[in-house]
């Protein structure tokens, strides 16, 4: 069964460094999302992406964040200058026209 994949599974970085989190959504899906989950807290929406542009972004998704779908299969989340409070699990999700969302296994980002 097709599934959303994410790499790396765990990324450790120093404060101020740039990180790129990668996702490969399910191939016939059209709508893509990034969420994050700080340890012990609920899953929070970051950004939605459709037709090569951002549909909506949350207050969390400030100028340090960007998303890209560079080659029609990969979907990336970039954090330009990481902060300690960016430490979290980051989940990519994709949606077919039937609207249910499928999540990837996540990337655990640790900022030291």
């Amino acid at each position: 069964e097709p599934e959303v994949t994410q790499t790396p599974s765990h990324q450790v970085t120093q404060m101020g460094q740039e990180v790129i989190l990668r996702c490969v959504p399910i191939s016939n899906h059209l709508y893509f999302y990034w969420y994050r989950q700080i340890l012990g807290q609920k899953v929070e929406f970051l950004v939605s992406f459709y037709n090569n542009e951002i549909s909506e972004k949350s207050e969390i998704f400030d100028d340090q964040f960007s998303v890209e779908r560079p080659d029609g299969s990969n979907f990336t989340l970039k954090i330009r200058s990481t902060k300690l409070e960016d430490s979290a699990m980051y989940f990519c999700a994709s949606t077919p026209p039937s609207r249910e969302q499928y999540f990837g296994p996540g990337t655990r980002l640790t900022v030291t």
């Binding site: 609920k42 899953v43 969302q101 999540f103 996540g106 655990r108």
Partner: protein, 114 residues
């Protein structure tokens, strides 16, 4: 008032029992409802998806939606130790098709005792 409220538990029940998990919501624009299962440090796994009031059954799982009361439930029959996980409710407003961000509850941690 939070948009989605979910009892965080923890909830412990003996194997074979019926489990009832619940969420309430305040935003009447929510029309699509999902239940996810999440194991520790893993991604949410979609269990049930529904958009109409009433019951939807899939194997041992039944999702129930009451839009008039803004209340959704997930029932697990014949619970197994492998059902031990955190269960997340999530919902979306379909009015902006293609941008249906999910709003999640806090999750209920469930343990099935053998």
């Amino acid at each position: 008032q939070k948009e989605v409220e979910q009892d965080p538990g923890p909830l412990s029940v003996p194997e074979g029992a019926i489990v009832s998990l619940n969420c309430t919501y305040s935003n009447s624009a929510f029309q699509y409802f999902m239940w996810y299962r999440q194991y520790s440090r893993k991604g949410p796994e979609l269990l049930m998806y529904t958009y109409s009031s009433g019951n939807k059954e899939d194997g041992r799982f039944t999702a129930q939606v009451d839009k008039s009361s803004k209340y959704i439930s997930l029932f697990i029959r014949d619970s197994q130790p492998s059902d031990s996980a955190t269960y997340l409710c999530a919902m979306s407003d379909p009015s902006n098709f293609g941008n249906e961000k999910l709003t999640f509850g806090t999750g209920t941690r469930l343990t099935i005792i053998p």
